[in-house]
């Protein structure tokens, strides 16, 4: 099966070692799970809020439960997975810090992607228009957006630091979906990047290398 993956999902897929155990939170229609199962023999599980998404996944033979990242992560045992993926969902959770803590508890590695609120279009919209930005990746007005906890790449790195999470990899995607390492040019990434993708591991453990 060759599915065309969304560019950010392709970047995430490249972070994942073959044969790993993985949980995809907010897995949608299961594109990433199906891709990783077929391309890398990944033993994947999913969590998805929408019934239509769960049905689409189950029909693909994927193992997915209906659930809410804010409420249901506590039910997973510690160290249950090699990787947990939270793509484009952190900013929509009620308690991002607690969600991230849970992710670092249940998995050795955590992949998080989010829209970068430090992007220049966002900054200029606020500076010149005095309005909440509506861009391609943030396409809803403030009153109807599910995104309630925006952050910039810098903000996110501060939270990782506070939670003692090791940043193994970090990339930004610009509007044309060009991938760029954040390492070394943080100010640039935080200005240009529309999306950011981080691969984290729990701090403190010496063998926390991605496989």
């Amino acid at each position: 099966m060759t599915e065309t993956l969304r560019p950010d999902l392709k970047v995430i897929a490249d972070f994942i070692a073959p044969d790993a155990r993985l949980l995809d939170i907010g897995c949608g229609d299961g594109s990433l799970l199906a891709y990783l199962r077929d391309a890398a023999n990944v033993d994947g599980r999913g969590m998805e809020l929408s019934q239509s998404g769960v049905n689409a996944c189950v029909a693909k033979g994927l193992t997915v439960v209906q659930g809410d990242a804010d409420l249901d992560l506590k039910d997973y045992p510690t160290d249950a997975f090699d990787y947990v993926v939270l793509s484009q969902t952190l900013q929509a959770t009620r308690n991002p810090k607690e969600v991230l803590q849970q992710l670092l508890r249940i998995s050795h590695h955590v992949v998080v992607s989010f829209p970068n609120f430090g992007n220049w279009k966002v900054r200029l919209a606020l500076l010149f228009k005095g309005r909440m930005p509506v861009t391609k990746s943030l396409d809803q007005p403030w009153y109807s957006t599910p995104n309630i906890h925006f952050c910039t790449i810098r903000d996110f790195m501060d939270l990782c630091n506070e939670l003692n999470a090791q940043i193994e990899q970090s990339v930004s995607l610009n509007a044309a979906a060009h991938v760029r390492q954040i390492n070394g040019s943080l100010a640039h990434a935080n200005w240009i990047g529309e999306q950011a993708i981080f691969l984290l591991s729990r701090g403190g453990s010496s063998n926390a290398q991605p496989r």
Binding site: N55, C57, V58, A59, G61, T63, V64, V65, Q66, D75
Partner: protein
């Protein structure tokens, strides 16, 4: 089908040895009444067992011999339907203790030549499943592709996964739980008391008598039926509407549509169900507690299970609510089992699993197709 005999459109088989029961008793010469649909592949890789609920029977997708009504899951099981009989060989057995031909309190005790009545031993869900497994051995089916059922059928499905994980590939427990709650038991006790309070029940010895405990059984059914519906469903269906009248009768006739409906449910039920069977089967459900039976946390029941699970619950089901399905999902996740779960939006209460619920159909169809590639067969 060496011991299977076809008899007026109904299939029966006799278990070769005695059936050991959880109570310590054992039953000789157990007869199982069953139905099949579709064709078993030569490699026996497409067998699906359907487990029926408390008042269901083996006539899952074909006309009921007593009522003449379509099978109880004829919207789910059949050619081209989610449980597709063009793909799968579907087997449904009347449960142990039932009253549609399988050995139970209303059947003849081979030792006495009379109906068992209360001499029938008290049975459990695990006993029912043990009988099903023995019956499948008679049919030569070693491994099932799937076991599927709702409510009490779902309890059997869970028991299958817990007791015979090597003999089943995928399971679909719908609108069910790992144990009966105090509230569930309480409602059942009301039903049993209604039967026992009927003078015609005669301590279970009514089979030779002209009058049967139909009033008691009808009241039991009426009570239970309320638990199968949501408040919303009752309101939508009947509201406070009068039945065949415009004003109150100022009597205790069935003025309201809802009264008339429940009475009808009660009266029609007694034609096809046995009062003692109702006592035994409700008791089996009450005793059901997967974890306690094994003396371990629920998660450990499924430690290292190779079985693929797909759990389904309904938002308005207060008899087997979503919280109970989630308890199972939690336990299965804790042992890294393959578990999918969907909660379906429905206003129709527990009964939803028997009704036209497209999301349930899509889920079951998709899960079964998705589970096919990983199944090696028997």
């Amino acid at each position: 089908m060496n011991d299977a005999a076809k008899h007026s459109g109904q299939l029966f088989l006799d278990l070769p040895g005695p059936l050991q029961l959880d109570s310590g008793a054992s039953l000789d010469r157990v007869r199982i009444a069953y139905q099949t649909y579709g064709t078993l592949k030569s490699d026996k890789s497409n067998a699906v067992l359907i487990c029926h609920a408390l008042t269901g029977d083996q006539h899952v997708a074909s006309e009921h011999p007593v009522t003449g009504k379509a099978g109880w899951w004829s919207n789910m099981v059949g050619p081209g339907l989610p449980i597709d009989t063009d793909r799968y060989f579907v087997i449904c057995q009347n449960v142990l203790g039932g009253c549609q031909g399988t050995t139970g309190p209303s059947e003849i005790n081979p030792e006495t030549g009379l109906p068992f009545g209360l001499d029938f031993p008290v049975i459990t869900i695990a006993d029912m499943v043990r009988a099903q497994a023995a019956a499948l051995e008679v049919l030569g089916i070693e491994k099932l592709f799937a076991v599927i059922g709702g409510s009490m059928g779902g309890m059997q499905v869970l028991e299958w996964a817990a007791s015979y994980p090597e003999r089943v590939h995928a399971v679909v427990p719908i609108a069910t739980a790992a144990r009966h709650t105090a509230q569930n038991i309480a409602f059942h006790e009301v039903g049993r008391q209604a039967i026992k309070a009927d003078p015609n029940w005669a301590a279970g010895n009514y089979y030779a008598k002209k009058e049967k405990p139909t009033n008691g059984l009808a009241v039991a059914r009426m009570t239970a039926h309320i638990t199968y519906l949501s408040e919303q469903a009752l309101q939508d269906k009947f509201g406070r509407n009068f039945q065949d009248r415009d004003v109150a009768s100022f009597s205790f006739e069935a003025d309201f549509q809802v009264e008339s409906y429940l009475r009808h449910q009660g009266i029609t039920f007694v034609d096809r169900f046995d009062a003692n069977a109702y006592l035994y089967i409700t008791r089996a459900m009450d005793y059901f507690d997967l974890a306690r039976d094994r003396g371990c946390p629920l998660a450990e029941v499924f430690q290292n299970t190779p079985v693929r699970f797909c759990l389904v619950s309904f938002t308005s089901d207060w008899l087997f609510p979503t919280t109970q399905a989630k308890e199972l999902v939690r336990a299965l996740n804790a042992v890294a089992a393959h578990v999918s779960f969907v909660e379906i939006e429905s206003s129709r209460g527990h009964d939803a699993f028997l009704l036209d619920e497209p999301e349930m159909f899509d889920t079951v169809r998709g899960f079964l197709r998705g589970a096919e590639p990983a199944f090696k067969g028997a």
